[in-house]
Symmetry: C2
Subunit: 254 residues, 2 copies
């Protein structure tokens, strides 16, 4: 799974029918979860995993995720993820995940920003003790960096939601990938038949907990929508979702 | 993955943190999905997969699932599933999935009843053409057979829900494992801290679709709850969930 110098890490998968959305592709929340999983696995393999950070009372926290794809991995086919660190300093690690289809052709990228916090003080932690373990790859990622997502102002529409038991993750916070699901659920099944997500950016701010009530606020046009999920005035996440029309062929074959 | 005569089929997994619930165990909906996935994979391997049934315009339909565990696979640990057919006839296939922990000790079982339908007529299909391919194992499964789940009558409590985009699966129906999630979400986070599911039975009746509004009806006592999910008077699923108190040690270590 690893090249000799461990700067890159690859995992091969098979996309089962049960893991697919209504368009018979990997769902975006599941893809995001796989990007998180491979980040975690590679970090552990090079000595900077959760278990290594815990020795200094540190923990990794996911700050931002960008995903951009030409097409999504498809039902009952293999796909692969290859990850490397593009940039690291004492404040954050910027990690790339390349997404390949069943023919090993590159179909997209994920870009994840990880920061560390001190779990006692809950303040940002200094990654200096771990920098020797992390060798950035020379490979560059062609997708754009994360955009600046500011307050969206007056939303076009607002939906209320109260977090349930199954939304909560092993850290007792709302699962990072659940926010992606709530955002996608603002659109209809037929919208996703006619359009696919071409790019998705999400930044994580304040954590939400069991039974918190949030507003999901959307604003934008057909192509680009900005979304904010907030409780009591505190923003939990901000996201930008870009849609592009599916080709006529792919719609007709449905 | 397979013994020589292919009557049994094994897959080894690693439970990532991102796949865990708030109790740092595999979530029940995800475990159910893994049971479905390994059933599908084994069926394909012995020549009775979806692709083989489709040659006769047949498709497998999941009719019932029972899951009973002493404990759940745990965070950041390997676990394994081993499946075999216990009983098969022209009307249905009854499949067992044994669940093993990181030490290869058996910690529970799944029992799944699969029927075939003719996708043109939507009527039950005769499995006779496939019976030669399916050799039931002589291994028996110690957990009880599926109970008869009748109408629950007047419920103790009712919750309304409208199905969203992300609830819909590759077949354009509500995902089988989503029903399990909605059922678990009737209880609080602290209920699951103090209790675990010891047995879960679910039967699938009428299919639900995007934007259908359903009632989730619950009735029972501390130990056993019967649940019905219904739309417009038609029952989509019936389930029975059994809880047992977690040991004092496991609660204290949280």
């Amino acid at each position: 799974m690893m090249d000799n110098d461990m700067t890159e890490y690859r995992v091969d998968y098979f996309l089962s029918a049960a893991e697919c959305n209504a368009q018979q592709e990997i769902s975006l929340p599941l893809l995001a979860q796989k990007l998180i999983d491979i980040s975690t696995a590679h970090a552990s393999a090079i000595g900077v995993g959760y278990e290594h950070l815990l020795e200094n009372n540190y923990a990794w926290v996911l700050s931002r995720v960008a995903i951009e794809l030409e097409r999504f991995p498809s039902i009952n086919k293999p796909y692969s993820l290859i990850t490397w660190v593009e940039d690291v300093n004492r404040r954050y690690s910027e990690r790339i995940v390349e997404i390949r289809d069943e023919n090993d052709a590159v179909i997209g990228y994920g870009r994840l920003t990880w920061v560390a916090i001190n779990i006692v003080t809950r303040r940002p932690a200094d990654l200096t003790p771990y920098l020797d373990n992390i060798t950035p790859s020379k490979r560059k990622c062609p997708i754009e960096r994360f955009p600046r997502l500011g307050p969206i102002g007056a939303p076009d529409r607002v939906t209320m939601y109260q977090f349930q038991y199954s939304d909560i993750d092993f850290n007792r916070h709302v699962n990072s990938t659940r926010y992606i699901q709530f955002i996608l659920d603002r659109w209809t099944l037929s919208h996703f038949d006619l359009n696919r997500v071409s790019r998705f950016d999400i930044s994580y701010h304040t954590e939400a907990h069991f039974e918190d009530v949030v507003e999901v606020r959307c604003k934008g046009d057909e192509e680009t929508q900005d979304v904010e999920i907030a409780r009591d005035g505190a923003v939990c996440t901000r996201a930008r979702i870009k849609f592009c029309p599916r080709s006529v062929e792919s719609v007709a074959s449905r």
